[in-house]
């Protein structure tokens, strides 16, 4: 493979990993718990900015990256795994604060609307407050993790990064899988399916919703950090509200509430359909490829919602009663046990 091809391959693989982590987070919020988070992308953006600020170093003269051409309100330089951790925490903390205001008050279309507007406000402020995060130009020259320490060649380092993304990806998948197959995961599904019934069973619906929202936000933050650690630049143009829609399409196409479905959704939506549009013939209109991508995503969403609303790989219906009976040792009456 030529260098350019290698770079394209590694870039696609990193995107795949980043998108899987993000989509797992959105699925936990939207697919499993039923929160219409139309602001999802701002939590990814927050993680990306957090990673940038904790690696770029303090702004001002004397800073290799910050001097002269970019301004930001604060910065430091932390060693390798910490910026990723901070990014996840920032994503979760921002989710908690936004969620605490919106989630208890709004449902359904209005919730989606409020999140959408929050997303627009965030983009507007980040674009217009130049001193905050360098405005519309965004932050660039963000250091790559362990780049100097490893001393690899350019393409070897890219493959190392693919591995790093894969490791994060597996950890996140495992974590989300554990949550979803635990009693907690079942409780979250009850919030989605029937809030009243869930309340009647004594579930703390409010905290459950906040928990899913915060974990999803943390995953979004981490995905943002992994993305900016590889591409080294981040600007408001990278996280317009339509980007949230890409993940929502991935979750709908793959199968909401199903982790395997999410991975298939990410493979199909941003990777296969997204990249395939790049190879469409050029009709001479500037921005036609990006426009074409969004049209494809919109059509996919409508087609799936109509013909296959549960996605390519739907959430499995688990029969808890039978599973419990199987697990219970023979001869022990299950009558006295409490229902799950």
């Amino acid at each position: 493979m030529s260098n350019a091809q290698q770079y394209y391959a590694t870039l696609l693989l990193v995107y795949l990993g980043v998108d899987i982590i993000a989509a797992l987070g959105l699925n936990l919020q939207f697919g499993v718990t039923g929160i219409l988070n139309f602001a999802f992308i701002i939590f990814q953006a927050a993680g990306a900015y957090a990673y940038a600020l904790t690696t770029l170093g303090a702004p001002g003269p004397g800073n290799l990256y910050g001097a002269g051409f970019q301004t930001y309100f604060w910065g430091t330089s932390l060693p390798f795994p910490l910026p990723f951790l901070v990014a996840a925490l920032v994503g979760a903390a921002l989710s908690l604060s936004v969620g605490a205001v919106i989630l208890p008050r709004l449902r359904g279309d209005y919730q989606a609307m409020a999140f959408l507007v929050v997303s627009l406000i965030a983009t507007g402020v980040a674009t217009n407050q130049i001193g905050l995060l360098n405005g519309a130009n965004g932050l660039s020259l963000v250091p790559k993790p362990l780049k100097a320490e490893l001393g690899l060649t350019l393409s070897d380092y890219d493959w190392f990064y693919v591995g790093l993304t894969a490791v994060f990806c597996v950890i996140c998948w495992w974590g989300v899988h554990r949550i979803m197959s635990s009693p907690l995961g079942r409780a979250l599904r009850t919030v989605r399916e029937n809030e009243q019934a869930s309340l009647a069973l004594g579930k703390d619906v409010r905290s459950l919703r906040m928990l899913a929202f915060a974990i999803g936000g943390g995953l979004a933050g981490l995905s943002g950090a992994l993305l900016v650690g590889f591409i080294s630049a981040w600007a408001p143009g990278s996280w317009v509200y339509a980007e949230t829609f890409v993940y929502i399409t991935a979750v709908i196409v793959g199968g909401f509430g199903s982790n395997l479905g999410v991975i298939i959704g990410v493979l199909l939506v941003p990777i296969v359909f997204g990249e395939a549009t790049r190879f469409l013939p050029d009709v001479g209109q500037a921005g036609w490829i990006d426009a074409g991508q969004l049209i494809v995503y919109g059509v996919l969403t409508l087609v799936f919602l109509w013909f296959r609303p549960r996605g390519v790989f739907p959430e499995r219906r688990v029969r808890y009663a039978r599973a419990a009976a199987k697990r219970a040792p023979a001869g022990v009456a299950t009558a006295g046990s409490t229902p799950p």
Binding site: V117, L120, G124, A286, G292, L302
Partner: protein
């Protein structure tokens, strides 16, 4: 003081555009319960239709009528083929909002491919400039305000004096009761989409008349401000939307004038979020509760 009057004058022009658009938005929501996020694109369709006619040498007034017609037809088709079927099937877990935002993305990017990213402006005689009460308004701006007032009176007459208007109000208050009374819901719904589409198209054309240049995303950019006006006035209430439009037009204009033009839209977004969170029934909630009138 003179600066204040000047900004209020500009605000009134924005209010006029917003009033036409948000009354259409809220009327359609009242009857159909669909929060239509593709409304901004329908507006652009109207504006572009008028542009094509205007470029071919037609007068802007013919353009205005054609824009209203084309937007009304697009609006009706959207309901017939997309929103209506989805709404009848019932989207339990997702809500119509995902359908409408998908349509919005398809339409806006489709329009981008067809019309391109260039800036358009209408060709018509700029008449004399009016000054008064400290405001300075061009002829087209005054015309925009007059069109808005005429449209508002027309909506008022439609709702209070016609059989269709009464049927729409009945459907909005209680759909199943209205059905039981023999009101043809399907036809009333179609009429609501047509009328809201026509208002949307008019709004698109007058928006194009009131600004120096507009593009395929201008309608979408105004959408949230339109929704904000509708929500501030209490969503589903045409007279509330008129009031909301008046307030939002002036507030955003003052923010743009005194603070920073970049924050014009953001101030509308913030108002929308605050109202959704703390006063979701709008400023007229108490009045409406007292009179129990849902127009």
């Amino acid at each position: 003081m003179s600066l204040l009057a000047l900004f209020i004058g500009f605000g009134l022009v924005t209010s006029a555009v917003l009033a036409i658009a948000s009354v259409g938005f809220t009327l359609q929501y009242a009857v159909t319960n669909v929060l239509n996020l593709a409304y901004g694109e329908v507006m652009t369709v109207g504006a572009l239709t008028a542009y094509v006619i205007n470029k071919r040498g037609g007068s802007i007034w013919i353009g205005l009528v054609a824009g209203a017609l084309s937007a009304a037809i697009v609006s009706l088709l959207l309901n017939r083929f997309i929103f209506g079927p989805f709404a009848r099937r019932g989207l339990k877990l997702f809500g119509m909002v995902i359908v409408t935002i998908a349509v919005s993305l398809i339409m806006s990017n489709g329009l981008l491919i067809i019309a391109g990213a260039s800036t358009f402006s209408y060709n018509f005689d700029a008449g004399p400039t009016f000054t008064g009460l400290g405001m300075i308004l061009t002829t087209e701006q005054v015309v925009v305000i007059v069109i808005a007032i005429v449209a508002m009176i027309a909506v008022r007459l439609l709702l209070t004096r016609t059989k269709l208007g009464r049927a729409m109000r009945a459907t909005s208050t209680d759909e199943s009761l209205a059905r039981a009374c023999g009101i043809p819901i399907r036809r009333v719904t179609d009429a609501a989409w047509l009328i809201s589409g026509a208002l949307c198209g008019i709004a698109g054309v007058v928006l194009g008349m009131s600004v120096t240049g507009w593009g395929v995303f201008t309608g979408q950019g105004l959408l949230i401000t339109i929704v904000a006006a509708a929500v501030v006035g209490g969503i589903g209430q045409p007279y509330g939307a008129m009031l909301g439009a008046l307030l939002l037009g002036i507030v955003t204009s003052l923010v743009a004038g005194y603070f920073d033009p970049a924050y014009r839209d953001i101030s509308a977004f913030v108002i929308l979020v605050l109202f959704l969170l703390f006063r979701p029934k709008g400023i007229l909630a108490d009045v409406v509760a007292q009179r129990e009138v849902v127009a």
